[in-house]
Every structure is written in C-alpha cells, then in structure tokens.
Symmetry: C2
Subunit: 348 residues, 2 copies
C-alpha cells in the first residue's frame, strides 16, 4: 500500500466511505446502500435514535404516493431504511435529520461527543447509516416527526449539535435546520466590513436569523424584503430591520424598485425559484450575494449576472461554518424579535 493510497483511505474513511456497500467507491450520500451495522469503528460514534425529522419534500411525496394511508407510509419508510441502510427517499433524493442519545464513542472519534449527550445530526439522513428496531410502532405515518428506536452512525467528519437543556427540542431543531445562514451571513458582513445588507425572504426562519446575524456582525443599514403586508407587519414588529419593504422576490424589477439603493451584501432566503435576478439587481457593484435558498438555479444566477454586466460576487450558501449551531441558538435566545418570528413556525 503506497502512501498515497493510505492517504486516500483516511479521507474516504473519515467521510464514511468504508460504510458504502453499493456502488463501491462513491461517498455515502451517492450510495444506493450503506452498511448500517451498529458495531462502530475506532473513529465512529453510535447514536441511540429517538426521533427522525423527515425532509418535508420527502414526507409529502411518500404521503401522496400512499394516498395518505399512514400504515402504507410507515411501511414505505421501513422498506427504504431496510433496503438502503439510510433514510433517503429514492424519488426526491432527500433525507432529513435525527435526534438521538450518544450510545458509544470510538476512541479516535474527533467529534468531542460523550456517552449520554442528546444530539441532533446536522449532516443529512441521506448519508447516515441507520437501522430501525421498533418497526416505527409509535408513528402513525401522518407527520414528518417520526418517533423511532434504532441506531445511527456518525463518521469522523460528521456534525452533530448537542441539544440545549433550556429550549424545547422542536425549537432547537427549527433553529439548527437553518443555522448555516446566519453564520455565513455574519462572516460575509464581517469580511467585507459591510454596512448595508438586504435580506430577501426576511420574515422566515433563515431570513430573520440572517438579519440578526448581520446586525451582530456590524451592519448598520438593514433592509428586509418580504412578500406581503402581513409579513411586513410581523417583521416590523420584530424590530430586526431598519427598513421593511414588500415585493415579489421573483420579479427582478419590483425587487430593484423596492430596495432602491443597492446594498453591499444581499442574502437570499426566499424558498421559491426565480429570485436570482432580483438579488443581483439589489446588490451594488463590487458587492456580494449569498444564496441560501435550495431553489436557486446556478445557471440563472451565473447568466443573469453576466447578462446584466453586474460585478457582484455570488456565493453558494454552505450549510456548514464552524460554530454555526451555537451562533444560531444564541441569536434565538438573546433576541426577542427572532423568537417572535420563529416561535409561530414551531409546532412543538
């Protein structure tokens, strides 16, 4: 075995490559089937599963394809996990996250977890080895929240957040689900020493956290763009933005008119396709757009900026920034306006 092969093996192993059964040589997310054996290697962590949080698009697809029959949905999820060794909906390709208790920690795990801690996985279920042992008997197949017993495995390069004692699980999950956005926003604002920031989709979870993070990072002119008067009233009451404007984020000229003077940083948290060109027009020359919406089209963004001769830096929002979970939870705890917008979205 050459040094180069050994190096590759270490990288592959840290990402869970050794758990891939089919097809060989791919990473766990791309695998059809993982080895979900509960026995862990020296750099792995085993979780005792308490609850799965299915991706909304995945649950909707399963429910519709089963005609809303909860027993059939339950059987479908059990079938997927048994066949694939992970909960990855073969139609939507999406997964979700899970909550569990740390059950065993390999001696060489770098994650810093201890047996007994309650954690949420911040890497997707699409790459997490999962075995279910209770037949999902406590789940009626009618909600994305799935009480479950079984085991899950974290690799050396996975991420899990210890669930805080002072917040309900549902709140922590809602915040952790979008914790990449405020962390990346804070970093961009700080690096650019930006004063003016526009957030598109500012009344949602990631939007309001991004506004709060931008303020904490030093921005002084915050504009929140929302879709209608109801959202505008809620965001104004929350006090997170210096200016609240309402416009259809998918209408570029309406966005430009509503925003007025373009901002140094624009953050896109709109959960709908078509916000790319408005975001570019809302951004000053030399400025930065951060796209967090998973509905973003790479081609629309790239061709739009070119077609408008817009000298803007466009970032693909990375869900991982070191310290992202703690930052988002702290913003929720310390800023009443964030709580006022997130709490109504949490079905505790």
């Amino acid at each position: 075995m050459t040094a180069e092969t050994a190096e590759m093996s270490a990288a592959a192993r840290a990402l869970g490559g050794h758990r891939v059964l089919d097809p060989p040589g791919v990473l766990p997310q791309a695998a059809r089937r993982l080895d979900a054996t509960p026995a862990i290697g020296p750099d792995e962590v085993r979780l005792s599963v308490q609850r799965l949080n299915l991706d909304a698009a995945s649950f909707r697809q399963l429910s519709e394809s089963c005609g809303g029959d909860g027993d059939a949905v339950r059987a479908a999820v059990l079938g997927i996990v048994a066949e694939r060794g992970k909960m990855q909906n073969p139609v939507t390709g999406s997964g979700g996250m899970l909550i569990g208790v740390v059950d065993a920690v390999g001696p060489r795990s770098p994650l810093g977890l201890a047996v007994g801690q309650r954690v949420a996985t911040l890497v997707s279920l699409t790459l997490t080895p999962l075995a279910i042992t209770d037949g999902l008997a406590r789940w009626e197949g009618r909600s994305e929240q799935v009480p479950a017993e079984g085991t899950a495995v974290l690799f050396a390069r996975s991420i899990a957040a210890v669930l805080p004692d002072d917040l309900p699980d549902a709140v922590s999950l809602a915040v952790l689900d979008v914790c990449g956005a405020p962390a990346a926003t804070a970093r961009v604002v700080r690096r650019a020493a930006a004063h003016s920031v526009v957030v598109l989709g500012a009344a949602g979870k990631s939007g309001c956290l991004s506004l709060a993070a931008a303020r904490a990072a030093g921005a002084t002119e915050l504009t929140g763009l929302v879709r209608d008067r109801r959202e505008a009233a809620a965001l104004s009451a929350a006090g997170l933005a210096d200016r609240v404007v309402a416009a259809d984020a998918t209408d570029p000229l309406a966005v430009a008119a509503a925003v007025g003077t373009p901002a140094e940083v624009t953050v896109v948290c709109v959960d709908a396709p078509g916000a790319e060109h408005g975001a570019v027009l809302a951004t000053a020359d030399g400025g930065t757009v951060v796209f967090f919406s998973m509905a973003t089209s790479f081609a629309q963004a790239a061709l739009g900026a070119e077609g408008m001769a817009a000298d803007v830096t466009m970032l693909i929002g990375n869900g991982y920034t070191p310290g992202h979970a703690a930052l988002a939870l702290d913003l929720y705890r310390s800023i009443p306006g964030v709580r006022s917008l997130i709490d109504p979205r949490v079905h505790a």
Copy 2:
C-alpha cells in the same frame, strides 16, 4: 411619477426593459418577445450584424429536430428571430453571441463604442434585440457559425468587446467565450493571497486560461487536473501547471487522491455534471471553490459541502468582471502554453 418610479424606470431601461413586448414587466432574457426595431434610443447602440455564433446546445437541438436538414434549420432560426425579436431557442433556452460593426451610437450610451468598430457581444443573444434582413441566404444550416445581415441593439448595461486586429475572429471568439473564468480566478487568488491552486478541467479553454491567470496573480503551486493521458501530455507540454494529474473529476475520492494536499483555491472548469464533491474535497479548510462549469448543481455543491463538514467558500462563477475581455486576450497573446491548448480547439 414619483422619484422611486423614475429610478426603477432608469434601471429597467438600462437593462432593456423598454424593449420587452411580452410579457410586460420582465427583463429581456425572460421575455417571450422583444421589440427589435432598428431605431435606437439615446442610450442604445445599433450594430450591423455580420455573424451569429449559436450556442452549441441550441444548434444541436435545432439540427436534430430538423433531421439534419439544413434548409429546415435555417427556416427554424428565421422563424424564431421573426417571432421573438431575439435568437433564443425555445427548447434549450439558450442563445449565443454575435459579431457586428457599430452602426449608430446614441448620445447617452455609456459603452464607449464608436461607429465603425467591429465588436463581439458578450451578453447573450437571449436578451439582444435582433432583426435579420438577408434571410440567412449565405448559411447552409450546418454549422453554429451563421453569416448574417441585419441589426442588433445594445442597451446601456450591455457588454461588447472590440475585436482585436491582430487575431483571427475565430480565436477572439473562442477566448472571449470563456473570458469570465480567468478574470474571476485572478481576483480570487489575489484577494486570498493564495499560493496553491487546483484547476479541474485544466486542459480546456477556460481551464488553461485560469491556470495562466492564477500564475499571473501570484499563485506558485499550480495543479492541473485532466481526464486522461492525452490531455495530461498536452498540459504538461504547455508548461502552465507545476503538477499535472489525471483523474475522473466526477469521482470525488479519485479527485482527492490525485490532488493530495488540498489547495487554497480550486477552480472548476469541467464541462460535465458531478464535479462538485471532488472540488470540495480538493479544497483546504478556509479555502475557496470557484464553479465555472454551467453543469454545476447548486444543490449538489451546497449539500455536499455541508455533508462533508467542509468549511469552504463556494462561488458561482460570474461571467462578468471588469476588464475580463482584455485580460483573457492578453493571456492568449503573451503565453505560448495557452495558445498551444486553445489553437487546436479553434476551427478557423
């Protein structure tokens, strides 16, 4: 008319909003139909068209749908332009670019063009008002290069590059087609003061120009990743990289093994889907990935980086950076290795 409405109108007009006939209120790229009237406004420029350069995907679709019948392809292009006022393939959505001579310059045009200059448009045909007057009589419908007579209109916020006298048109077009990549690469390398750079797809047009631009911007450890031995030999002979490695860019673990120590900046010029995860693995923590391939998937990049807990900044390659055309043409002129890789790709 309020001040805000006036401001919107100016922005909309600079982008050609006043040329949109259907549906009203969108930007020219999203329009079904533009007003291609040759009479120009005070901030517009009119070109006398000499040649259209159809997007490769668009030409292929037209040719296949016409069973390779050149007369039918010609009729299809004429039909599209007559109906839409622009050459945007309704199936692929793509356009291309054109060459023409500046024919009239409005007194308030900010583009700095003069009557008589030969230019290439660097904004897409999908947003350029176009009228054809010769029935494309000199085109046999068998190539993306379309000799044509007619008029095209540039807006205040369009981009056109004056074609240099010292290079064949085909070379200038080939270089200008990808000129966004070297300019953005140079900017990223300079801003990060990066030493190590990996280019995926390094033997292609945008790849070799990006290597040359990274070197000129101060990078000292350049790795070029190519697909096979033939490309490796060509890139090695060109002398643009300090190290040339061959691997399948769509196999993340193979890319990681070939690259070895991750780089501060990774530039993706691979013209195929699936290069996102390899690019992330090729990049050091705290580093930057620049995606230039239009085959990039936003979701694959975002979810991949998160799933691998990779703290990397990911940029959507913007085709426009000020000075991009001049930089790319200068790299072609001054660096023999760039010429040795681009010339064989030019069908002059």
